[in-house]
Symmetry: C2
Subunit: 340 residues, 2 copies
């Protein structure tokens, strides 16, 4: 028995399948991150027009297996040692591990993630869960949601993911589909969404939503410096151009961040009316904007939440585990045999 | 010891404070309704401009005490016998029994319902809970939600109330305020709501919402027969005129019921994305419209819910306990010492 194989017994791997990257971590017995690995998400996975979905699901899980292999080499878990692997994926994952519907990973919709992973990782204990539910678990155990029993975990990335913690547990719903908060419809006359409807919250309050709000402002002539930054064409304006210009104090960009904060707050206010959390944790790439997003969000939330003056303040805080939260939670779930 | 006093030991009372009536029931040990009593809700309770809120809260609880006294006479619970009393009220009730915020009972907002009831009903074990949470408990134990662990109870009355059951339990939230589903904002440019914001779901999908949709159709000239029924003035059109005309097959009225069903479905689709229920129970006065509302609601829901073809069908069913559900649930909670 090698040292590697011995330590392997306490290790757990978590892999988060995102819209742009597949990110994995290895945790030790104390949930400390021993290693990290990542590969790009196969392009076809995000393509709604992808015709051969079965194959794309396989390619996505190939990427997961690559990440697991890289983690295994890093922590020397050894031949014959199979740390448990947790896989997080965005969208409606059923309890058997099939990705039933996924507006931001459409090429892989319908894929039986658990079965595909079982073939590629034989002998490995496997857990497959929604990515935001995994992030909620990680933030609750080791991050910004610690000590709170009623928490909303909101991941603002390509889309919006949600993990709803009530009484200390992640709400799963009847079929495992709870927490699809990005597809809460907030404006019936809003722009079309990849999910097939119009005016979903994530059309406004995600990374993609920021880009859309920014392009509207650019075409309206309110974002001159940002358009220059993007190469001169309003159509080329992306969220990152706005956050960069806002960091430099550009007035038009700050106004767009305020608008984004209003839309983030609108959804948070709805969720608060429904679920009455004590704390809301904002994660995902967009949350990296920090106070530039948090400040206008908190201001608008105070206006928008029902009974604002009559309820204890809801804490709106940034995630502590950053982009790794989903992978860390997936590893925790893998070790525990499930989210709770 | 009289027969009444003996039976009184097994009896529980429940009283539901509504926007128009205070309705009470006495339940026997098997949760059968032994007696019912009702009085009108004091007019000032629904008045947002009421200046002396403390007094109005007292008047509302006087009405509760009247109903309890009437129930006591009916079931001969006897002098010195104090069956437990559960009180249901609409809006944000905190865990101490204070009505913190209540858009449809504004005159009583701020009232310490539990303390006021304690003075009027000395020696009586008291429970004070949100009305829709009580209705959810009743429908789950004895009504249309039986056998389902993940249920949305939606009461479509003057406003919209919600009781969210997950894993067989009513979700209370951090401070007892969960389930305020009527104040989910679904259209930022929508009409003003008594809660102080715009475009809340209950501006569209409640009894009041039906009246508003109907008056809009009337002014647009699409509800000729209904306007005649209401006395000739579009401004006088109320929800009940529309449901009556729709029952008689009037085309314009049926179109308004379809529109209402679309708005009901929109909110149900949002709640389903968030909470993934297996069953949705529709109660409250508006649900008495039956299939005339249920059929268009089910049709629109199938279009509006995320991943419609990829998830098991969500059953949308009418409440079984009718207008008594809140009072019955309040009595059950009184006997059990709480909602769960």
């Amino acid at each position: 028995v090698t040292a590697g194989a011995r330590s392997g017994a306490d290790v757990a791997f978590g892999v988060d399948i995102g819209g742009t990257k597949v990110l994995g971590v290895a945790l030790d017995a104390d949930d400390a991150v021993l290693a990290e690995a990542r590969v790009a998400t196969p392009h076809s996975a995000a393509d709604p027009a992808e015709p051969s979905r079965g194959e794309v699901g396989g390619e996505v899980v190939d990427a997961v297996a690559q990440v697991v292999a890289a983690l295994g080499r890093e922590v020397h878990s050894g031949v014959g040692s199979h740390p448990p692997v947790g896989i997080g994926a965005p969208g409606m994952l059923d309890r058997r591990g099939v990705l039933r519907f996924s507006p931001n990973l459409q090429g892989a919709a319908g894929a039986d993630i658990r079965a595909l992973a079982g073939v590629r990782l034989p002998g490995t204990p496997l857990i497959v869960e929604n990515d935001a539910n995994c992030a909620a678990l990680a933030e609750h155990r080791r991050g910004a949601a610690r000590g709170a029993d009623h928490v909303l975990m909101v991941t603002l990335g390509t889309g919006i993911g949600g993990g709803l913690i009530s009484g200390g547990r992640v709400l799963m719903g009847a079929y495992g589909f709870a927490g699809e908060i990005g597809h809460m419809l907030v404006d019936p006359s809003g722009p079309p969404c990849p999910c097939g409807r119009r005016g979903c919250w994530e059309r406004y309050a995600s990374g993609g939503g920021l880009g859309r709000l920014a392009r509207e402002a650019a075409y309206a002539g309110r974002l001159h410096e940002v358009v220059v930054l993007a190469g001169g064409d309003p159509e080329l304006v992306r969220g990152e151009h706005v956050t960069r210009a806002a960091l430099q104090g550009e007035t038009g960009a700050l106004a767009v961040m305020d608008e984004l904060g209003w839309w983030v707050a609108l959804g948070l206010a709805n969720l608060t009316a429904l679920l009455d959390p004590e704390r809301i944790v904002l994660g995902g790439g967009l949350a990296e904007a920090g106070e530039m997003l948090l400040a206008p969000t908190r201001r608008a939330f105070a206006d928008l939440v029902e009974g604002a003056g009559e309820r204890p303040e809801v804490q709106i805080v940034p995630a502590a585990l950053g982009e790794r939260a989903g992978a860390v939670g997936a590893a925790m779930a893998a070790r525990a045999g499930g989210l709770w």
